[in-house]
């Protein structure tokens, strides 16, 4: 059984005041996310990521298609006991403290007062909320509210967690802590579905990703499925003469050269000839090796390719 499953999920909105016209927010999205996976849901602004998450939470209703979580229809109250959700830029009751908010949400999840007391303290420690947990939330920064948001998504020890832009508003330390938290969730067998603009987070955390562009799922798969291929080498050398560099360029052994500080060069080498052959030739002319690294397609390259190749969003057929 998939943890998350959507079949032809479609959402149209009506926009305009005088001239009402349909707008396709999400178009025929079919997704399967297995249990225990960390799935990254990527896409540019306005691609439909938040719309998809809202459909999965049944905050909005689909125009067509269906969504299931843990084999039950999205919005099913029993399923909601087993999931957690962090909305984008979450807002909570600012007259409550972090402890009170979690206590409220824990109570709504059916937890006893004793269970809530036992869980909330540990959860706030886990997301890095310290002594300020007893202050009203109106005194919290955006990053601190994000941490409370993540804590409330985990208050019921969920099997599936939906995180909409979880790194938003966090400082570098906070981002690292949340990355580690997501990995701990994965290790506990929790399915994590998160939307993000930060591709490095997706590369570091996800077993699979989906890229949404203009309301359509442009591609999805494991990072290796998405052709993160080796496309050359980056060689950094020092003591390289202008003549030696010109010769290497003329033979096609170097595709680009970038001067660095301390008389060093960063050279981009093609896949052939092998980098050790090029390196030995350069060293014979007085160059010294500083570093050699493979150049692979990044998720960003795939993302840019997908976003660039997808046509702009179409207006919906009137319904």
């Amino acid at each position: 059984m998939d943890a998350i499953r959507t079949e032809g999920l479609t959402k149209h909105y009506t926009v305009g005041f005088w001239r009402r016209r349909p707008y396709v927010a999400l178009d025929d999205v079919t997704l399967h996310v297995g249990q225990g996976e960390v799935f990254g849901f990527l896409g540019p602004n306005g691609a439909g990521k938040t719309t998809t998450l809202k459909l999965l939470m049944q905050l909005i209703y689909p125009t067509a298609g269906r969504a299931e979580i843990l084999g039950r229809p999205a919005g099913d109250v029993d399923v909601k006991r087993r999931i957690g959700y962090l909305p984008e830029q979450p807002y909570f009751y600012d007259y409550l403290s972090a402890e009170e908010v979690l206590d409220y949400f824990g109570a709504l999840c059916g937890q006893s007062a004793a269970d809530r007391r036992a869980r909330i303290a540990g959860l706030l420690d886990e997301v890095g909320i310290g002594a300020e947990r007893r202050l009203p939330l109106r005194k919290f920064s955006k990053g601190m509210l994000q941490r409370v948001g993540i804590a409330q998504a985990l208050v019921n020890d969920p099997e599936v967690v939906f995180l909409d832009e979880p790194m938003s508003g966090l400082d570098p330390l906070g981002r690292r802590e949340i990355r580690h938290l997501i990995l701990r969730l994965r290790d506990r067998g929790c399915t994590v579905f998160f939307s993000s603009h930060v591709l490095s987070d997706a590369e570091a955390l996800c077993s699979r990703v989906g890229i949404l562009v203009a309301g359509k799922l442009a591609t999805s798969g494991t990072l290796s499925d998405l052709a993160l291929n080796l496309r050359g080498w980056e060689l950094v050398v020092s003591g390289l003469s202008e003549d030696a560099l010109a010769q290497a360029r003329s033979r096609g052994h170097v595709t680009s050269a970038t001067p660095l500080s301390d008389a060093r060069y960063a050279l981009e080498l093609p896949l052939t000839p092998p980098p050790e052959d090029v390196l030995s030739g350069l060293m014979a002319q007085g160059a010294r090796l500083v570093s050699l690294n493979p150049l692979r397609d990044t998720l960003e390259d795939v993302f840019v390719r997908q976003v660039g190749s997808t046509p702009v969003r179409q207006a919906a057929e009137p319904t």
């Binding site: 809202k54 939470m57 905050l59 109250v77 029993d78 959700y85 949400f105 109570a107 709504l108």
Partner: protein
């Protein structure tokens, strides 16, 4: 339905931490004290004026709480997006609406309760300082328990007003909700006039329409027995029970409407 209780308690907690609510209670208590002072200046009529002003103050301050908190009950959750987190928890949309309603009714109940206690304290004090001769001139005892009938009907009326405000709050802005709620409350004071409209117009169509409207709109005038209890006239318990039953049926319909509207909404 346990979620309804948790949501209601949270609404009450918000009201308690909202300084406006404290101000309303303070103003109500002040008004009752003022009515006592006015009574001191009006020979012979002091108790009647105090009762009139006290009951009116309970009604008006309760109305202000019902309207101005009621219109923001659902709207604020949607506008500030806290609804996203809340509805992702294992609760139904109907439970959310009912929880919000019960929370405000609880707030009203406690406010009306505090105002009632203050009011009875004032009239009991007048009773204590008055001579037997003055007491004999009163149409009803100072701390007349029959006033609880009037306060009970005020409470039912406030519960209907809250349900109206909540209903509009599920799909409308606070400004429009306030206009609609107050408008309905004002029109609801003239239910009897609408029913008897035929006596003052020649058009039978207008008369029929007015009569039909009087059955659809809430008949708030029926809940006003303040004058009767102040003048010591009997208000039968059967009247109180029947009017209360009408009120509960009316607010149940409003809540059902609010649940239907709210359950169909997209939270974009």
């Amino acid at each position: 339905m346990r979620a309804v209780g948790h949501i209601a308690v949270n609404v009450f907690k918000e009201s308690v931490r909202d300084k406006v609510l404290y101000n309303l209670v303070v103003f109500a208590v002040l008004l009752i004290a003022m009515s006592y002072l006015i009574g001191e200046l009006t020979a012979g009529q002091d108790l009647k004026i105090i009762k009139d002003l006290g009951l009116a103050a309970i009604s008006i301050f309760g109305l202000a709480i019902a309207v101005f908190i009621g219109i923001g009950l659902v709207w604020k959750e949607v506008e500030k997006r806290s609804i996203y987190t809340l509805l992702s928890k294992p609760i139904g949309r109907a439970e959310f609406v009912l929880g919000k309603y019960c929370g405000l009714v609880l707030t009203l109940l406690i406010n009306v309760g505090v105002m009632t206690i203050s009011f009875y304290a004032v009239v009991a004090y007048i009773d204590w300082v008055s001579t037997p001769l003055v007491r004999a001139s009163w149409p009803a005892p100072a701390a007349d328990p029959a006033m609880l009938k009037a306060i009970g009907l005020i409470m039912i009326e406030l519960m209907i007003v809250t349900a109206i405000a909540l209903f509009f709050s599920t799909f409308s802005s606070p400004f429009l909700s306030a206009v609609f709620t107050i408008g309905l409350w004002v029109v609801g004071q003239f239910g009897q006039d609408l029913r008897e409209f035929g006596a003052v117009v020649n058009s039978s169509t207008a008369a029929t329409m007015a009569r039909g409207l009087s059955y659809v709109l809430p008949d708030f005038a029926a809940f006003d027995v303040k004058a009767q209890v102040v003048h010591g006239q009997a208000v039968p318990i059967s009247y109180v029970a029947l009017t209360s039953a009408y009120g509960v049926a009316y607010l149940a319909l409003l809540l059902a409407g609010a649940v239907v509207v709210f359950s169909r909404r997209d939270f974009k």
